[in-house]
Symmetry: C2
Subunit: 258 residues, 2 copies
DNA sequence: GAAGCAGGATTGGATATCAATTTATTTGGA
DNA sequence: TCCAAATAAATTGATATCCAATCCTGCTTC
């Protein structure tokens, strides 16, 4: 279960998905070893795990970097997510697990409530959760893990491309999707899901300037207790960040070194 | 070209997929290090890669073993393959790449020819290739790699459960599938694909006695002529889950040994 | 025969060291 | 000054050796 390299990989993963480490950032073995108070070998093992997961790229004799997917690859990730979930919908027809649609409906209600309060961040999280729930309906752990991996790669994209979502429409489409499930119109549901992900993908725009990630030690050591220690605001990203933070709550806790 | 651990992982992977290493076989670090003439650390890194890929399980303080999926997990792997390819079919509708169906047709012809010559092994390989080609139609590398990983896990199952495929029917279904593509009957095609994979899964039977894998050094140094067919065919086989076996009729029984 | 203990074997990890390669710096020249 | 070659520094890939923790085995003891 434990295993130092596994924990460290998880911590680095959180830092990447939390956008505290930006794509392209160098992940030096020595630096990480010093930060985590561990030997280089453990770091290498953690980096190998992350590379197998697609979050890190290792270039021989050059080191490891946070993955920096091209726009083409980003599109492929979303298309793959689309296809996987379309496959789930196709299977839904074979399984009379319709009782579980109540979970999807409950999620939609939660998202609506969040939107009603203007909490777009929370609404966004519920929006992601909807797709998790959809996949969970299959009760297929292999698929669920696969989907989770794809979602990690998608979250990585958020820090590379600026995103701008119309949560209201996304939520409406979720509702429409469930209605189609209810009527067992699977082909239409698949078509809608495809359009849904295209809408999501349209929310991503190329960022003309990549904000460099903060120094490594700041990415892992929880910032000062009182100071949020946000990145040096310089580009439009700061504006976007503010827009997504109506209530200013962005607590991502990190397991420091043990 | 890259690191030593990557090559070694590939070699071990081949040995597993070639059924020279059976599920449950112990992969001792010291033994492998001696065989490959590298340090234990390189072996550990290779084992980590394989574990991330799902072909090896690492138990803390106990060591690494060739993965030994449960029947439930085996079913999940096939269901996941089904869903991924159903998703591909759903996408096929959006892309007018129908010209590429010729590749599928060519594959079917090759398989038919192999069947005509009674070369069931070759026919089996073409049968697998069909699904690769189907996925390749998307030109989506993320999906293709994901599908390849699932296929590796499926091939691992072949050495755990005895398999008996009716290649004639499988080939017929491929042909029927392409015909449905041609008529753009995607929903029907998805349904057929589901039945197709259920037929494949029915070909797997529980082997009550696992043949132990040969010693490690023999698995990697294939000094002997290519004669790994050392199976004691005298074991009773139990019927796989009833869910996947509504009717147990099969005309062409082939030992699926790749 | 069952419980429990000691010892061996194996894994997980640390440290020190070295070669190969990349990156940075300095020097040299036009 | 600016570009290019040569050299120095830093980083990675890998090895060997060592040590602690854990697991397995076999033996002893009751």
């Amino acid at each position: 279960m434990s295993g130092r390299s596994e924990q460290i990989a998880a911590t680095i993963c959180e830092a990447i998905l939390g956008h505290r480490l930006k794509p392209g950032a160098k992940l030096g073995e020595r630096d990480l070893a010093d930060i985590f108070r561990v030997s280089r070998i453990v770091i290498r093992q953690a980096l190998i795990r992350l590379a197998e997961d697609g979050l890190v790229t290792v270039e021989r004799n050059r080191g490891a970097f946070v993955a920096k997917p091209s726009l083409a690859e980003a599109i492929e990730v979303f298309e793959t997510l689309t296809m996987v979930e379309q496959g789930v919908i196709a299977q839904l027809g074979n399984r009379p697990r319709m009782s579980l649609l109540t979970e999807l409906r409950a999620n939609i209600e939660r998202q609506k409530a969040a939107l009603g309060q203007g909490n777009e961040q929370l609404a966004g999280e519920f929006g992601l959760e909807f797709h998790d729930l959809l996949v969970s309906l299959t009760r297929n752990r292999v698929l669920i893990e696969l989907h989770a991996q794809l979602k990690r790669r998608a979250r990585l994209l958020e820090s590379l491309y600026r995103c701008d979502f119309d949560h209201c429409q996304l939520c409406d489409e979720h509702e429409h999707l469930v209605a189609l499930f209810d009527r067992r119109q699977w082909a239409k549901a698949q078509q809608l899901l495809d359009e849904h992900y295209r809408l999501v993908a349209r929310g991503y725009r190329i960022e003309d300037e990549i904000v460099p990630s903060q120094p490594l030690h700041l990415a892992f050591n929880p910032p000062a207790p009182e100071k949020p220690a946000e990145e040096s605001a310089g580009s439009k990203t700061a504006v976007i960040a503010a827009r997504y933070r109506p209530n200013g709550k962005s607590s991502h806790r990190i397991k420091g070194d043990a």
